[in-house]
């Protein structure tokens, strides 16, 4: 609680949190007011300018950009969260296990972690995406992203866990006969929780960024719109050359704002945990 109070004192955190949770609430509740079932329906001509009836204009198929962007926002958040949860879960497990256990298992896990950090994850993404035939779905892309980004979490968590390992209260618990699982659950996880959360935030951000990048080069989901798919379509349909800013800017701004908000949250948390950064 003290942590939260400290965080709330940071204007950066407040701005970031308001932006991010605002976006999430919007993504969850807006469909009650904006009918998404008709998001793929044609409502007018090609690339109509923003107007009273279509606030953000229409796309090349005459679809309402407000609805498309909302749908895209939901998809992008879904990918970000799914990728983030997967990467954080795997990364935390690997990191804690390796950092706490040490020994040969740690060596092996650590080697894998470093290996996958060095091999660029977008390379793996491109290779797999290009070889998937049909059904390059949102979920598959999210899982792929998560599967390539977990080493970052594992690496940081491992460092933290191995520094916790030698602390007194853990030795005490061990003397008292607690088994490894109990120690991890009771004594390590709580210490790591806020830390893991920070890494999770970054994983969500990188999940959203990765999805938009992979969609941008034409390897995006085929079953749904995402913000990256919207941008890719606008680019392919020649929106840039015709000065159709409403095809490019709104989706770009949404991606940037979500990621910015997440970065703000992460950085302000870092400030709180690392008091020297605060002032």
């Amino acid at each position: 609680m003290k942590l939260l109070r400290n965080l709330l004192k940071s204007p950066m955190f407040v701005i970031g949190a308001v932006l991010f949770f605002g976006t999430i609430l919007f993504a969850i509740f807006a469909p009650f007011f904006i009918d998404l079932k008709t998001a793929m329906d044609r409502v007018g001509g090609q690339y109509l300018e923003p107007s009273g009836s279509f606030w953000l204009g229409t796309d090349d198929l005459g679809r309402d950009y407000v609805k498309l962007l909302l749908q895209g926002l939901r998809s992008s958040l879904y990918v970000g969260f799914l990728a983030g949860v997967l990467a954080t879960t795997v990364g935390t497990l690997v990191g804690i296990y390796g950092g706490f256990k040490g020994g040969i298992i740690d060596d092996i896990l650590n080697m894998f972690t470093n290996l996958f950090i060095v091999i660029p994850s977008f390379v793996v993404l491109i290779l797999v995406s290009a070889s998937l035939e049909q059904g390059r779905s949102l979920t598959i892309i999210a899982l792929l992203i998560g599967a390539t980004t977990w080493p970052w979490t594992a690496r940081s968590v491992r460092a933290q866990a191995s520094s916790l390992k030698s602390r007194d209260h853990i030795s005490l618990a061990r003397i008292n006969g607690a088994n490894t699982l109990q120690i991890i659950y009771k004594h390590i996880l709580p210490y790591l929780a806020s830390y893991v959360f920070m890494v999770f935030i970054m994983q969500v951000a990188s999940g959203i960024l990765s999805e938009s990048a992979i969609s941008m080069i034409g390897l995006g989901p085929m079953d749904n719109v995402s913000l990256g798919v919207i941008l890719n379509q606008a680019k392919n349909a020649g929106a840039l050359g015709d000065g159709i800013w409403w095809g490019i800017f709104p989706a770009s701004i949404i991606i940037t704002v979500i990621v910015f908000a997440l970065f703000l949250i992460n950085n302000s948390m870092e400030g709180v945990f690392n008091p020297r950064l605060r002032k």
């Binding site: 060095v118 994850s121 998937l132 941008l231």
Partner: protein
Amino acid sequence: MLKQYPTLRYILQRGVWYFLTFLVAIAINFILPRLGDRNPVDIMMAKASQGLSDEAVKEKRESFEKEFGLIEVTAEGKIIHDANGKTVKVSGFNQFLNYLKMTLSGDLGKSIQKYPKNVSDIIIEAVPWTLALQFPSILLGWIFGNVLGALAAYRRGVFDRVIFPMALFMSSVPFFVFGMVLVYWFAVVLGWFPAMEAYSGALNPSLSLEFIGSMGYHYVLPFFSIFLILAGGQAIGMRSMGIYELGTDYIKYAKWLGLKETKILSYLFRNAMLPQLTGLALSIGSMVGGALITEMIFSYPGLGMAMLTAIGSNDYTVIQGCTLLVTTSVLVANFSVDIMIGFLDPRVKAGMQMGGK
């Protein structure tokens, strides 16, 4: 044994590790594209079989399968047929061994779409452009970002309050989004800079002033689209490091001693540099990835563009070649930074272990 040469030992250790990683990368590169059941020969045949008789089609297919190492041939290069006149498939493991042998000897096979062009030729033509774009922009972005970050950490105050959120914002903009914004604004709306390509279509590459001028003019937008975003991310990291270092005892001591500000700043910079360098090594992969997409936005004739074209036409020998090259160069970049760390980091000099195994 190399106890008395800790730096050398460290470098050798890292070298072995990177070589193993390289082998794993080759394996990944081999396996992933083969997950789907597509076959380069099917793709080629779809185009090449038009207007051919059935027999000619069969012959053509076999010659392609031979070319791509999918069927067994005799030592003289004759296709082996079994009792039923069918060809004999090469096992997946043998295919991998062949691939490994070819890759290690620098042979990346032939492009499917640009057959009979060698993948290595496609890559050699593209790489200079990518280097010319990425090397300076990443390097300068890194230096500029770090200087800015160190200044923000040291000055704090208004400077920090302006620089920090700006840097944070820049680092959250995807490369391609910023690229598109630059194209929209400076090429389409204002018309100040060309929207795409690496040089004017009216010129052939030469060492003339005109050509170099045209190259420079076309260089501006792609360069800034990478440079600014990269600098943003680096500034944030450096600022944190700098603030951390500022609180350490040696800086306090230096201040107490009354050393000159520039002197203190240089100490600060030097010590915060190491983690930043490691950070650069680790993130160079994702940077290169993002910057490759920039090439696609600007139709810059480098590796990213070659890869996009290959993805669009399903030319997976080229995709594989490009990804392998990117992975390899990321590994080399990492290794070089590791070597640099070996020389710069006093802990390595003192023979202490560090980094991953």
